[in-house]
Structures are given as structure tokens and as C-alpha cells.
């Protein structure tokens, strides 16, 4: 239970809040949830492009945060921990729903493999033909990025994570992660140029 006088405050850091929650302060969790709800949601929803599955995973991710709060290591940033859970849940879900795809075959440990994925016909030209404005077109373009590039980009912009952290979470090398981000950004900038 929270200590007397140890009240949760809105300006507390994420790390302080998860610590307070681990000591039984449920209000600290609520603050954390509201602070990161949309970022986690956008990461899941834009990666999966399936609101129902994203909702299911959203719940699982935050249940896991609640359950394992006491095991959170203060030396790590909360967002790194949070997005690690979100990423792993998402990978588990993809594995469960798309067993016919070999994720290892899409491991992409080289730039050549990334080139191959970049040329994936499924991504198509991000002409944003149906997008009515630049913002909508960009979101659509993000959703159409190859999976690894999309994950890396969303971890960077939604999780506010650096390349090293993204590499750890996705189980990739630093250079591969850097390449994925470079390809993602190049593609998105190209789309914006075409749109303009």
C-alpha cells in the first residue's frame, strides 16, 4: 500500500510512477496509462492494421505491465520496457495468426534483404491516392511500410526510443536497425514529395 503522504503527482516521471504502482498506488498506474495509452495504441494499431487485434493486445500489454510492475528495473527507461512488452506481444500475435509465414525468413540481417523487402509489391507505391490530406497520407504510408521498417519507425516516433534500444527490442543489430529506419524515412519523405 502507498506510504502515507507518498501521493502520486502528475509531474512524476514514468519511472517514479511505476515504482509507486509497484508499492500499491493504483492512481500511479492510471496516470501512466493515460500518459502512454495513445502511443502504445498507435504502435499496435498501425503495425497490425486490425483494430480488434490491437485492442486485444492493448489489454494484454497493460495487464502485463500491471502484473510485472514489481519486476521492473529502475535502471531501464519505462518506455523501453513498455514497448518491449508491446513488441513481443505483437510478434506473438503475428506468430499465432500467421503461422504460414516464416518470420525467421524475414529476419533481414542484411541490407540486401531490406532492399528485397523495400521492393515488396505488397507495399505498393505510396501514392496516397485515397488520402485526402498530407497527414492521412503519411499515416497510410507508415502502415504500408514493410513490417520491420514500420516497427522500427513506430518504435522511434511513438516510443521515443533510440536506435540501440530499438535494436535490443527487435533483436536486430544496430546497423540493421539503422538501415531500416533510413529506408523507412526515405520512403516516407519520397511519398510526401510525391504528395506535394
Amino acid at each position: 500500500m502507498p506510504d502515507a503522504g507518498d501521493s502520486t503527482v502528475a509531474d512524476d516521471s514514468d519511472e517514479a510512477l511505476i515504482g509507486r504502482y509497484a508499492r500499491g498506488d493504483a492512481a500511479a498506474f492510471e496516470l501512466l496509462y493515460h500518459r502512454h495509452e495513445l502511443r502504445v495504441w498507435r504502435y499496435l494499431q498501425r503495425n497490425l492494421r486490425d483494430a480488434a487485434t490491437a485492442e486485444e493486445l492493448m489489454q494484454e500489454v497493460w495487464f502485463a505491465v500491471a502484473r510485472d510492475a514489481r519486476r521492473y528495473l529502475p535502471s531501464a527507461r519505462f518506455t523501453t520496457w513498455l514497448f518491449t512488452i508491446a513488441h513481443n506481444r505483437m510478434i506473438d500475435s503475428i506468430r499465432a495468426h500467421r503461422r504460414h509465414l516464416s518470420l525467421e525468413s524475414l529476419g533481414l540481417d542484411s541490407d540486401a534483404a531490406i532492399d528485397q523487402l523495400s521492393a515488396d509489391p505488397g507495399t505498393g507505391p505510396v501514392a496516397a491516392a485515397v488520402a485526402r490530406d498530407e497527414a492521412a497520407a503519411l499515416i497510410r504510408a507508415v502502415e504500408e511500410l514493410p513490417r520491420e521498417q514500420r516497427e522500427a519507425f513506430l518504435l522511434q516516433v511513438e516510443g521515443d526510443l533510440d536506435i540501440e534500444e530499438i535494436a535490443r527490442i527487435t533483436g536486430s543489430s544496430f546497423e540493421t536497425t539503422k538501415s531500416r529506419l533510413r529506408y523507412a524515412r526515405t520512403k516516407l519523405r519520397q511519398m510526401l514529395k510525391e504528395y506535394a
Binding site: G5, A10, F29, Y33, F63, A64, D92, G171
Partner: protein, 322 residues
């Protein structure tokens, strides 16, 4: 180029109205409240086993009482066979089991599986890449099993916790707390001087009073005996949680209405992002800057659009929000 792309993405995200359903939010918060009451878990387990332990001891004592007199006062074999046997058998079997819960066995006193191995479902903050990949490889089988078991236990506790949580939410916001994204039941930090001392540390130094500085009412004398150390932090908190009464009280004293937190968020931006229409109206009436953006460049108008609150959007636009 890169900053432009990030900026456009943030603007796009602010306009994206997609968000998880209210049901998910409610379930998560109720579950978290139930887990927060976790220390009761081991107690509950001990309580379930207490009858079995006492039953066993009582049975052993009864058996002892029946057997010991016969040891010291032996009787003919034929008589003891008729009288002692019934007395010995029940203590060995029936009484201990009568008080035990269904499914009780030799190992049932151990803590739940999920308590002992939860890391399968949630990784360490910085797992090495190879270890992370390995843990993902085994996670679907082990992790989900332990996770779901733990979730079920927590969900059982949730049934009780949710009732108190729901009533707490309603007490905070009688209009319909559950329907508002930012409506949260939180301890009233503004009333605690210790908490305000911490809040003060988060306020950026060098703030210059702006036209948004309000207050100085005679009503300020009616403030509590120990006012918060940092009124602007209390202001942001009241605005964010929709505590209009407190907000009104704070605004009646001198306070920088646009003082930002460590993320550059003003009270108005927090209120708008949480859909607190009354807070927004009150802050605007007290001169809050409708265009004060946070460190990410999100304005109150962006935030209101993001949470789909047309009334707040209209109020901000009337106040000159761009």
C-alpha cells in the same frame, strides 16, 4: 528533412481519432487496481489452507487422546479391535480433507505458477538481442499460459476491486467518469504539501509572469491552512482530472495559468487532451493561452481534435486557437 517528417507525423497522429475502446481502458484500470491489492494474495492462500492445517492437528490430537489411554491401560485384543479402529481411521483420512479446498493436494500450498515465473510473459527491460529472440520463441506457449492464469486470478480480484473503483470514479466525476478518457480516480495531491514540494521541482525555472497570471481574490483567504508549495502543478493536476472545484479555488489565488510541466504541457493542454470541457472553459476564462504547445509541438487544439471533443475544439477556436 528529418524534423519535418517527424513533425508531420506528430500532426497526423494528433488528428488521428483512432483509439482503444472505453471498455479496454476500464478493464485495464480495474485489473491494475486489483493487482495493486496483490499483497492480499498470499494471505488468501494461507486462509484457505488454515482449516486443513487445523483439521489435521485436531485429528492427530483426537487420535492421540484415544490411543494413549490404551497404551497405558491395555485391554484384551478383541475389545480394542472393536473400539479403537473406528477412532483411528477417521483422523487419518476424513477430518483433514473435510476442511480442505477442492483440488487440494500435497503441492497445493505452493504459490501460483504465475507468481514464480512471470518473466516469461514480460521481458526484462534490457534483454540481450539473442536472449530476447529466445524468449520470444518460447513466449507463446509458456508466457501466455502463465499470463492467462495470472490474469484469471487477478480478474477474480477485479470483481471486487472494480466495484470500489467504479464508485471511486463516479465520486470523482458524477457526469460519467468512465466515458471520459482523462477521468481518473487519483489521490488529491494538491491537498498534500509533501507532494507539492515534489511538484515544485518539475516547474521550469525562469518563468516570467504573463497576462495569464490570475488570482488575488479576497476568497484566497479561505484557502486551506497549508497551501500547496507549487500552485501551478496543482492547477495542472486539477485541470487534467476535471476537478473543477479545486481548479476554481486555485485560480482564485495568484498562479501562472500557463506554467508548463516538464513535458511543456500547460494546464489547458492537459485539460484538452483529457476531454475536460469544464476545465478548458474555466482556464480560458482566466486567460490561458489557447496556442501554448508542448515540447512535441502539440497544441490544445491538436489535443482536443485527437480526443474528439467538438465542444472543446469550438471553445478553443472561439478563444483564438489555431
Amino acid at each position: 528533412m528529418t524534423p519535418d517528417l517527424d513533425e508531420i507525423y506528430r500532426r497526423a497522429s494528433a488528428r488521428d481519432t483512432s483509439r482503444p475502446s472505453e471498455a479496454v481502458r476500464r478493464r485495464v484500470l480495474e485489473h491494475a487496481a486489483a493487482v495493486a491489492a496483490g499483497p492480499q494474495r498470499p494471505t488468501a492462500n494461507r486462509a484457505r489452507w488454515r482449516p486443513a492445517i487445523f483439521g489435521t492437528l485436531a485429528a492427530a490430537a483426537l487420535a492421540g487422546l484415544l490411543i494413549v489411554p490404551r497404551v497405558f491401560n491395555p485391554q484384551p485384543f478383541s475389545e480394542s479391535a472393536d473400539t479403537a479402529a473406528p477412532a483411528q481411521v477417521p483422523p487419518l483420512a476424513a477430518p483433514p480433507l473435510a476442511g480442505a479446498p477442492p483440488g487440494a493436494g500435497p503441492g497445493a500450498g505452493a504459490p501460483p505458477l504465475a507468481d514464480s515465473a512471470p518473466m516469461n510473459s514480460a521481458p526484462a527491460p534490457f534483454p540481450p538481442p539473442q536472449a530476447a529472440a529466445r524468449s520470444r520463441a518460447i513466449a507463446p506457449a509458456q508466457g501466455q499460459t502463465s499470463a492467462s492464469r495470472d490474469d484469471v486470478q487477478a480478474t477474480q480480484r477485479t470483481a471486487e476491486a472494480s466495484r470500489s473503483s467504479a464508485s471511486r470514479l463516479k465520486a470523482e466525476d458524477p457526469s460519467d467518469a468512465a466515458a471520459q478518457p482523462g477521468a481518473m480516480a487519483q489521490p488529491d495531491a494538491a491537498a498534500q504539501p509533501g507532494a507539492m514540494a515534489q511538484l515544485g521541482a518539475a516547474t521550469p525555472p525562469g518563468l516570467v509572469p504573463r497576462p495569464g497570471l490570475v488570482g488575488g481574490h479576497p476568497a484566497a483567504s479561505a484557502e486551506p491552512a497549508s497551501p500547496p508549495a507549487d500552485p501551478s502543478a496543482a492547477l495542472r493536476r486539477a485541470a487534467e482530472t476535471g476537478d473543477v472545484e479545486r481548479l476554481r479555488t486555485i485560480l482564485s489565488s495568484p498562479v501562472l495559468v500557463d506554467a508548463p510541466n516538464a513535458h511543456g504541457q500547460t494546464a489547458l493542454l492537459l485539460a484538452a487532451s483529457r476531454g475536460q470541457a469544464e476545465s478548458v472553459d474555466l482556464l480560458l476564462a482566466h486567460g490561458a493561452d489557447p496556442n501554448a504547445a508542448d515540447a512535441d509541438g502539440t497544441t490544445p487544439l491538436n489535443a482536443a481534435l485527437a480526443v474528439d471533443r467538438p465542444a472543446i475544439v469550438a471553445a478553443l477556436r472561439r478563444a483564438g486557437a489555431r
